[in-house]
Symmetry: C2
Subunit: 214 residues, 2 copies
DNA sequence: GTCTATAATGTGATAGAC
DNA sequence: GTCTATCACATTATAGAC
């Protein structure tokens, strides 16, 4: 078989594995399931990736850059602070909606269960730059506070709040749907409208309104 | 053996099972693990609960009332709206901090993976009252908007925002710790300070400031 | 490289002695 | 009720033919 077809099989496997791992979690995933959905046999999975663990780590390594870079990248752009928040929220929700709404829950679950092995793999993707995202965020805030545009507040609390409001609707979907009485078809629209809501909600809370009078 | 000791064994098993299931998830849990941590043997688990599935559901049923009632109950109290939000946030964070910080992620993960079986068990705990929590919340908001204390906004968006800010720090702990560069010992303090932050953050965003002049 | 067959191990569940 | 021993089956992993 040609090298191209070899490459192709390897890619098919890891692509299907990604889908199944994200859907079922590590311990919930069966090698047989991956083989079936890929239209191949189990032995090939081991031929290319040796073990379930190694296949899983291969999936994670491939996933990591796609996971954080597009979103965290926004923080490094040269933008006015409030516009940066807006772009960050929109980018995050758009990315996850299109790519895979189950991604955040998958990443969090596996980080929790197997922290020592998984976090190092993911961290390389987060910490690819010299200055950390949270430090960039802190400096932005400091500048705006000095300029009198922003209330003083803890930068980590604000950062986590924005993150929470954007991510949790994906992670907590089944819980939210029950508590807030959503029908299945309503939820996607809710998420789309949420982009605008979050930005308004946040800016309204943190911005210092400049009045005409002194 | 006396009926009391019988009762005691049964209770030990379900107590340990709760701990292990919450920690490892359903598919990650081994009956052997539960037996070991309970200081008993596997056969006893089956003697009392027949199967892993049935033990899991027994755990869920026992857990459900403790899970939602204390927090959602706040929504039904006769309180000014802003005080209700404050009490809700404090109650939620205090409850989870004391009880088990892994509870939210556990509930969400299992709801996601096995919706049809699990949601009915949990819903009984959520929907124990005639009027749903979200409907109570909506009416409270409507009243405040008419009174001129509150900006007009979608009640579900606000509800989910408050929920997100309170729950996500527990669910997304490993992710947040990486992104915001927390040390282990800092995080508990961060969560405690978060109660006050969320309340201020929310009220500052939604409240209509009444000025002296007209 | 890909397959079938099978080994090796893990895991839920049960039988039967005490 | 509680234990040890064991079954039955699922699942990861490998051997070997093509």
């Amino acid at each position: 078989m040609s090298p191209e077809e070899k490459k192709r099989t390897e890619e098919i496997i890891i692509g299907v594995a990604e889908k199944v791992f994200i859907r079922d979690g590590f311990s919930g995933t069966r090698m047989q399931t991956i083989a079936d959905e890929a239209g191949l046999n189990k032995a090939l999975l081991h031929y290319y990736y040796r073990s379930k663990q190694k296949l899983f780590y291969a999936v994670l390594k491939r996933l990591a850059p796609k996971l954080f870079a597009p979103v965290l990248g926004v923080l490094y752009e040269e933008l006015p602070f409030f516009e940066k928040i807006e772009k960050f929220v929109h980018r995050y929700i758009d990315e996850i909606s299109q790519k895979n709404p189950n991604l955040p829950l998958f990443v969090i679950s596996e980080m929790e269960k197997n922290a020592d092995d998984i976090i190092p793999i993911l961290v390389r993707a987060i910490d690819s730059r010299e200055i950390s995202p949270i430090e960039i965020f802190r400096r932005d805030m400091e500048r705006e506070i000095k300029a009198g545009n922003l209330r003083e507040m803890d930068h980590k609390q604000l950062f986590v709040s924005i993150l929470s409001m954007a991510i949790f609707p994906f992670v907590g979907r089944p819980l939210i749907m029950q508590l807030a009485r959503f029908q299945n078809h309503e939820y996607d629209l809710f998420i789309q409208e949420r982009k605008k809501f979050i930005v308004e909600f946040v800016i309204n809370s943190i911005k210092i309104q400049k009045t005409g009078v002194e």
